[in-house]
Amino acid sequence: MRARQLFYLLLREAGIGLALALIVILFSAFAPHFASLANLTNIFTQISINTVISVGMTFVILLGGIDLSVGSVLALATVVAGMVITQESYPPDVAILLAVLASAAIGMACGFFNGFVTERWKIHSFVVTLGMLNIARGAALQISKSRTIFSFPEGFNQVGSQTVLGVPVIFLIAVAMVLAGRFILNRTVFGRMIYAIGNNEEAVRLSGHNPSTYKVAAFTVCGAMVGLAAIMYMMRLNIASPILGAGFELNAIAAVVIGGTSMSGGKGSMVGTFLGACIMGVLNNGLLLLGMGDFARLMVTGLIIVVAVIIDKYRARAFLRSTFQQGRP
């Protein structure tokens, strides 16, 4: 039985990996300049931000929740961090450190608020985070007086274009977050509780736990990832602005879903999410190189999301069927 489970697990993970490989091969053959080192670096940089947000989103979706506020919270975090980092009273290093802390604090505070309201009043997170989407965007516009903030310390700006052995630093940060997320989900008590609650919250409660604690923590973790993504975004763009991040929530949700995580919670993986983010990034990049316009690309990406979910439905059904039958001798 273990072998069978392993087989389905492989099918699940490898299925997405295979799809990614196929897309890469196709673009390498047909899209001009796709298979070049420069373009590869480009793709890595492009998917980094979405990957980090998606790592956070995976925690929330595994619990059957959703966070629509990540894009707005990211904007708010950049604005606050931008104001801190441009304070001339601090030396650059201290200003950078404070800005990173401020960004993380903003993200975690917003995440905690989302989780707390969701759990305290048992409201669906869809509604709560829809509210936060507007609150954070409004707050970002308010405190920045809707102006863009720039002229950050040179050392800070450089990180966005630095590479280590040809790999962009911000991509390395993203990969580190994926690995950390994977470790937390698979190896820690917190991760175990995330899957258990996502599968059957009532059973977990009746086993002597308080699921709300873990759910609030998951939203807070998601917020922390958004705070980090905000800093990474500032490093790349060298600006902070209240209008950044519009639609980021949809890209993150898409990456998580393409990665095979169930919207009803309990099933999914961090590696899947990463592959999902890669598929989104590669598609966008490859179609652009093929000369496809923005509008058409949007349609293709949308279609891919729907197709991914349909494929996942069949995979889940095959998995369930095989286990059901074992259970009915």
Partner: protein, 521 residues
Amino acid sequence: MSPGGSAPPTDIIEVQGITKRFPGVVALDRVDLAIRRGEVHVLVGQNGAGKSSLVKVLCGIYPPDEGRILYEGAPYAPRNTLAAIRAGIRVVYQEFNLLPFLSVAENIFFQRLPRRAGLVDFKTLYRDAEAMLQEVGLPISPRARVEALGVAQLQLLEIAKALSTQSKVLILDEPTATLTPREIHRLFEIIARLKEKGVTVVYISHRLQEVFDVGDRVTVLRNGRKVETLTAREATIPQIVKLMVGKEMGEEYPFHAEVQPGSEILRVEDLRHRGSSQAVSFALHQGELLGVSGLVGSGRTETMRALFGADPKASGRIYREGREVAIHSPRDAVRHGVCLLTEDRKVQGLILDMACTVNVTITDLARVSRAGLLQPGVERSATAGLVSDLDIKTPSVDQLARNLSGGNQQKLVIAKWLFRHAAVLVCDEPTRGIDVGARYEIYTLLWRLAAEGKGIVIVSSDLPELMGICHRILVFSNGKITGDVARADFGQERILSLAYQEYVREPSGPHADHPAAAGAV
């Protein structure tokens, strides 16, 4: 059948050599079965004997791998449930297929709402529904929303729904599992009436007594094979049990007189759950098996859930070994060594799509982790220990809980509380839906735990079961404890009359003495 035509065959359904295989298992092995027109044919067998698979073949869910079915003398191979319903074969499942937010009437006639000018003709709908409800003796308004109904009412509603399509063959899958004795009696009356009208009933049940209460004939299945078909009048329970298990069973209920209750382990004073005006008090001792009897809706389950903190309580004090403890949530209860094995183990007891290890260690993750990091080795060996100790049949501790049989799932629930070293086990219907052999194992296990000094509460609707294994039985009636009966005074009549005591006094209508009906009015 058209009048004046050739006489219809006496067997309405003839199953010939049906085989159904699943990967690694033969669910049905060359089964032959003849069901006579207008009879009540009872199917019995342990879990996994093939009853459910046979039903699923008959109603079009599984196509058989071999063999054929004759229905009304003609070959019958339904492609799906709808085809089976159109042919006149309909199943009432244990799980309810009702739409909670719609009315009773809409549920009954969901597939063919009466229409006028493209709109639902509610007048006809409610009138027809009223008639169907009367047919099954369910005293509720057709306008009531289904979510407001109790479990027993849902069961009767399902039957009304099935009858509304003029079924020729009605298959009832464990219809009495959730019913009180009174409701069961009514169900039997309904079945008798259906029989008079010429409807054929296939009846599946774990309660063997019912073979004699309603059945004309009984077929015993074992390991996917038909063992024998008997005439109910000539069969006996020991004979059926013997055919089901394939070997002689020992004494059906274990009771060990040498295990005597010791000092007080739990005391409940003036406990009142929300929605009840009555408070209850009782005590439990070390090594004691305390039975809790009463009708469904009498407050048994609600009281136990309030004790465990699963639902908020209105008032009450709880003492553990003489010391008062505050229990406001399951978390508090578990911390004080009190655990609840819920009525519904699949929905509330287990995480079905996760491994046995996960299900066992969830009650005490601190024991299998260090600094928040899980230790898979410790986790697996701890689970493996309990699995072999409780004789849980699973190929591996990594098996998903979903894949275990009912009896083994229940043992897994017990294992998770043993992992937590719980001192007080409150078991709500621990043997519901479990076959005879596995039941016996559960009883033996509960006795072993009692002998180890744990205190055990068993809530059950199965009175012979409680009388067989308990030291003492508390009887709930309409929210009150009306009896605390010692083993020496056990008697079915005595306990039943205590269970009905608080209902018979209410004078306000024909069904006011019925807990579920009282709730709906």
